[in-house]
């Protein structure tokens, strides 16, 4: 599993979802969070965290957001030399195969369907960490 001190960036256009995801992650032992309301602000948060010396180690992002969607944010992260290795989990209510395939092709680490089940979230994060740790 990701170390408890992993800095996690939560990106969602609903501040309420930030609280819900944080609640689940806090119950898993995590305590370092940043939040952003869309992909553009999320990318700025990645840069700010890197500059502050506490880089983000995991991104959880919604798919449908204004300005820059979660999918566009994923693409921007994977094209960035500085951030391309950060595990990126997409949270979405959209489970259509075409969307899932697009996200996989763009390099998503895991794909979680809303409503977020804390047990499924934990299992997916463990699986992502296992893949990262054996790279």
């Amino acid at each position: 599993m990701f170390p408890a001190n992993t800095h996690i960036l939560i990106v969602d256009d609903s501040a309420l979802m930030h609280s819900i995801v944080k609640k689940h992650l806090t119950a898993m032992g995590f305590s370092q969070f940043s939040t952003a309301l869309d992909g553009k602000l999320g990318f700025a948060a990645l840069e700010a965290a890197k500059q502050s010396g506490n880089p983000v180690g995991l991104i959880l992002s919604d798919w449908h957001m204004p300005e820059m969607s979660g999918f566009q944010f994923l693409q921007a992260v994977r094209q960035s030399e500085a951030f391309k290795a950060i595990p990126f989990v997409l949270l979405t209510a959209n489970t259509e195969p075409a969307a899932t395939s697009e996200a996989i092709a763009a390099g998503v680490s895991a794909f979680l369907v809303k409503p977020v089940n804390p047990e499924v979230l934990k299992a997916e994060l463990t699986a992502v960490w296992n893949r990262v740790a054996t790279r």
Partner: protein, 156 residues
């Protein structure tokens, strides 16, 4: 398009699953009825989402009396909420978005080609939802330990 059980079921299933997982609340579907044929509770908050496909144009409304919404949000966020605040009102859009997303997948498997949409929130005391067209509005009631909430399906 005539609304039938195959069209409603994905919304019923989506609501039950969403409430169970997100809110830890059992949402038991009750017998659907046509709007106006039975009294409805006083709603304090509602989320509305347009549903557009080659076969159907209309909207889906998720309506809550205040105590039911507050119970759902309290359970979702692990805090005891006493009133519907600006921060909390996002919750109805989020719940509707999740229910809609789940229903959309099933409806598209049935060939509806439903497009993605963004929900709007209506908040106030004693909200009354009224259909703009003369088409009957189907009400899908759900019973929870905190009271009833309704999903209304209106076609243009």
């Amino acid at each position: 398009m005539q609304l039938d059980a195959n069209f409603f079921k994905p919304f019923v299933d989506g609501a039950m699953k969403t409430f169970e997982i997100s809110c830890k609340l059992k949402a038991l579907p009750q017998k659907p009825f046509l709007k106006g044929s039975q009294p409805q509770p006083e709603f304090a908050i509602a989320g509305v989402i347009g549903l557009t496909s080659p076969k159907f144009n209309g909207n889906i409304t998720l309506c809550f009396p205040a105590p039911v919404f507050l119970a759902a949000m309290s359970s979702m966020l692990g805090e005891d909420f006493k009133e519907i605040t600006d921060d909390l009102q996002d919750g109805v859009a989020e719940l509707l978005n999740i229910i809609y997303g789940q229903a959309k997948v099933v409806l598209n498997q049935q060939g509806h080609a439903v497009e993605k949409a963004i929900p709007s929130v209506i908040r106030g005391s004693q909200i009354r939802t009224t259909a703009v067209s003369s088409t009957p509005v189907m009400v899908l009631p759900f019973k929870t330990d905190a009271g009833e909430f309704h999903i209304e399906i209106c076609s243009e």
